[in-house]
């Protein structure tokens, strides 16, 4: 142990104590770190649920867990990964980075920001605590379609609804805060066309949340009331319409998918140029494609409902609108690839994740085109093809982006780099395991295996693909363990870094690592989208 520093010559207020300093903080950086660490803990919990399910499915007719446990697990795995991991971890990144990237001292509403975090933690505890409710956690899927979810006995479903209500308030407050911050607190010279692409992504992320969360809240409130027996919005037996819920849910649910992928794309747009030693190719195209994707995401919810018997004209509309999203998505992918052209590509772990993202996300995007063609969707809807597709976009997309971001900004947050050796184990094990786990699931879906089944019929190919998928999930598990080991290892042994270890482009690297509570003593005037590079060049000119 190092010798303790002299006590400061003034009394330290209780709000700056070692624990209280985190509990009472309104500093966007501490709140950001709280968000990220909490989300990662939930990520481990959701991962354990996934491994339990894959163990059950390794061979047909397994009795590893009961039917009802399985149904609770797939419900809570989806809910956890979406509402407790991907959405809030981006709120964490955004909290930490947006004020630094735009040269601000903090978020627009620091206290509201702290409230967002504590509501998130509370919502998470309510959701995961529901495993201990009467008859266990909710077991009607993360989509909670009535009438099944309206009839489900026990209190798990009620806690699920209340948990999501709490998380929605948290997300909504956070989203309003991000929008207010981005619109009002940009430093001198930081025009919209100089805004870091990650901040662009957060602007659209927050905008979408503000538009669609009220729909979820309304739908879930009606469902909760139906469950009490007072109303019958979604109960056909009493004259309600269960189809109405699907429209309300997917009006929220589809934009939610883009809420979970746009910030990952924002991270990739920051990492690729820095590790290619080049500017981003087509800044405006990437920024505007983010806006376009956000807009179109509001018009395509019906492609989740191609099998409910929508009018033919609507099916055609939802097919056209869904296919349209492929275009701005493709624009981003080709721009990232063009950014690497003739670069000096430095494969630190962050860059590995970013390049891995381009590969696996493209596969997820392409299977999405299959699903947009509604007659084909009639075949694979609600099968393992969908499970494969959504994991290619949400793990191969969102989580790969999140890992890229963690390796990239870890030194800024903690003053030390994550280890490269463990980082590479983490990346390669996860990449191989991920593809082993999820690629065969496309074929399972084509062969007719529905999703959300606790067992399946014994058929040579079904059994083989399921076994490979389970083996892959274990390999992924080891990859994630390497990450946990890396986090622990780096606390003592990670290489210490200065302001700007990657020679990056954006303002957060102007502050110390980690930055002081007030972020900047002085913010340089911003004259381009790459203020740090401009600064380095000015300093080099002065030296020579």
């Amino acid at each position: 142990m190092a010798a303790r520093a002299e006590p400061p010559p003034y009394p330290v207020p209780w709000t700056q104590g070692r624990v209280a300093g985190w509990v009472a903080t309104v500093d966007h950086k501490r709140i950001g770190i709280l968000y990220i660490i909490t989300s990662l803990v939930f990520f481990l919990a959701g991962g354990v649920m996934a491994l339990l399910m894959r163990t059950q499915l390794a061979t047909p007719d397994t009795d590893f867990i009961t039917r009802d446990s399985y149904n609770q697990l797939f419900t809570m795995h989806g809910t956890t990964m979406i509402f407790l991991v991907v959405v809030p971890i981006f709120a964490g990144f955004a909290n930490y980075l947006v004020p630094l990237m735009i040269g601000a001292r903090d978020m627009a509403f620091p206290r509201l920001n702290a409230l967002s975090y504590w509501l998130f933690l509370l919502g998470g505890i309510v959701l995961l605590g529901s495993f201990f409710a009467e008859e266990g956690a909710a077991r009607s899927g993360w989509t909670a379609y009535p009438p099944f979810s309206a009839y489900a006995s026990g209190n798990g479903q009620d806690l699920w609804i209340v948990g999501l209500h709490i998380l929605s308030i948290s997300s909504l407050a956070g989203a309003i805060n991000f929008i207010a911050t981005i619109h009002n607190m940009r430093t001198a010279g930081m025009s919209w066309m100089r805004l870091p692409l990650f901040v662009w992504a957060i602007e659209i992320y927050a905008g979408l949340l503000v538009i669609v969360l009220p729909a979820l809240t309304a739908g879930l409130t009606m469902l909760l009331l139906d469950r009490t027996g007072w109303t019958n919005f979604f109960i056909p037996d009493e004259g309600g319409s269960s189809l109405l819920y699907q429209h309300v849910f997917w009006f929220f649910g589809h934009p939610e998918v883009y809420v979970m992928i746009l910030p990952a794309m924002g991270i990739i747009s920051e990492v690729i140029p820095v590790f290619s030693r080049k500017p981003i190719f087509g800044y405006k195209a990437i920024a505007f494609s983010t806006v376009a994707i956000g807009f179109y995401s509001l018009l395509v919810w019906g492609h989740h409902m191609f099998t409910v018997g929508l009018p033919f004209g609507l099916q055609i509309w939802f097919m056209l609108a869904s296919l349209t999203i492929a275009v701005p998505t493709g624009v981003k992918i080709f721009n990232w690839i063009a950014t690497t052209w003739r670069g000096n590509l430095i494969f630190d772990t962050a860059m590995l994740w970013a390049v891995g993202f381009i590969g696996v996300f493209t596969i997820g995007g392409l299977s999405g085109i299959f699903l947009a063609i509604f007659p084909f969707d009639w075949q694979v809807h609600d099968t393992y093809f969908i499970v494969a597709h959504l994991h290619y976009v949400l793990f191969g997309g969102s989580m790969f982006g999140i890992f890229a971001g963690l390796y990239y900004w870890w030194p800024k947050m903690f003053g030390r780099r994550l280890g490269e050796r463990l980082g590479k184990w983490h990346f390669w094990l996860t990449l191989v395991g991920f593809n082993l786990a999820f690629f065969p699931q496309h074929f399972l879906g084509l062969l007719g295996m529905p999703r959300r089944v606790y067992t399946y019929r014994d058929d040579d190919l079904w059994t083989a693909y399921n076994l490979v998928s389970t083996a892959g999930s274990y390999v992924m598990g080891f990859g994630i363990l390497a990450f946990v080991a890396n986090v622990i290892w780096s606390r003592k042994h990670g290489e210490r870094v200065g302001h700007d270890p990657w020679l990056a482009d954006t303002l957060e690297w102007y502050a110390t690592s980690p930055p002081p509570p007030h972020n900047f003593d002085k913010v340089p005037y911003v004259t381009s989208a790459r203020p740090l590079r401009d600064l380095r060049r000015r300093m080099a000119e002065q030296d020579s």
């Binding site: 500017p279 690839i337 063009a338 007719g448």
Partner: protein
């Protein structure tokens, strides 16, 4: 060796399509695969190439690549070319679409069968009133229209036999339909919308038999059900009871059945109609003919077992 390769290759394709609509969907699949393959190549080839060609190889981080900020023509190209590919995919979809929803030609025979999804079995009703559970018999090379729904008191299901075309949801209060036209054979499927504890056990099967054989079977079956000497009771037991009470009624999710618990027909009918505790009302809209078939089958089956098993 050859058969192993064949087996592996067959795993990469959808279930063999055995109805014109399913065949057209499979055609769509292959066209989409070609387009997706093309796009995947156009992403993967430059990505892999650049990763190897431009990797740092120990060059210092301070060495920058050329400061290229974009190229309008290139960006237009990778906006317009994908639009072109999507238009091709759409054109092919619209070309195949008319055949994907099968319509009866003028004068062609069409058999309409009502399909109800229920926790956790499928109930079929033929035009002449005959009932079948889980396993449907259908005439070969005849257009069979399935009218799919669920009772108001039930939950959502989705009827899907992959070889015979797409799935359609069985939603309380809504009606969907789909058609197929198949050769003689047995086609398997199962419920595709999560519907509860035994969702995974909600299997469906369509046995397609020659038309003459079907017509005479259907007539006899309707008469036998009317007279009360058909196998309907056994079908109902297998479809509606065994999924929760075990394949032999020995107990699984629900309790085991015994001669004592099934001897009182009125009591059984009351439970089957209304459900009890966690048991859904599996026979809520059954008519007396269906209910009598089940109660008499149960009494017979468990009484016999009670005697032989001692």
């Amino acid at each position: 060796m050859g058969s192993a390769i064949l087996l592996a290759a067959s795993g990469l394709t959808p279930v063999t399509a055995d109805s014109p609509n399913a065949e057209r969907i499979e055609d769509l699949y292959w066209v989409l695969c070609a387009i997706a393959g093309l796009v995947l190549l156009s992403v993967a080839v430059p990505l892999v190439l650049f990763v190897f060609r431009y990797r740092s190889r120990g060059r210092d981080r301070t060495i920058e690549g050329p400061q290229i900020h974009g190229a309008t023509r290139l960006e237009l190209a990778w906006t317009l070319v994908p639009i072109g590919l999507l238009v091709i995919a759409l054109a092919f979809t619209f070309y195949k679409l008319p055949g994907i929803t099968l319509e009866a030609q003028a004068g062609e025979r069409e058999l309409e069968i009502r399909v109800e999804g229920r926790q956790f079995y499928w109930q079929y009703e033929y035009p002449n009133g005959a009932i079948a559970i889980d396993k449907l018999r259908a005439p070969a090379n005849t257009l069979v229209k399935l009218v799919i729904t669920a009772p108001d008191s039930d939950v959502q299901h989705s009827y899907w036999v992959p070889g015979l075309g797409g799935k359609f949801d069985a939603i309380p209060g809504e009606t969907n339909d789909t058609s197929f036209k198949a050769k003689v054979g047995v086609y398997k499927g199962q419920c595709a919308e999560f519907c509860g504890t035994q969702h995974a056990a909600m299997l469906a099967e369509i046995e397609v038999i020659p038309v003459d054989e079907f017509d005479s079977w259907l007539e006899q079956e309707a008469e036998a059900q009317e007279a009360g000497d058909s196998d309907l009771g056994e079908e109902e037991f297998l479809g509606a009871c065994t999924k929760c009470h075990g394949p032999q009624g020995e107990g699984l999710v629900g309790p085991g059945l015994s001669s004592a618990s099934v001897s009182d027909a009125e009591n059984v009918a009351q439970i089957v109609r209304n459900g009890r505790g966690r048991m859904p009302a599996v026979g809520e809209e059954w008519d007396d003919r269906q209910m009598d078939a089940l109660t008499s089958y149960l009494r017979k089956r468990f009484a016999e077992e009670g005697q032989s098993g001692g």
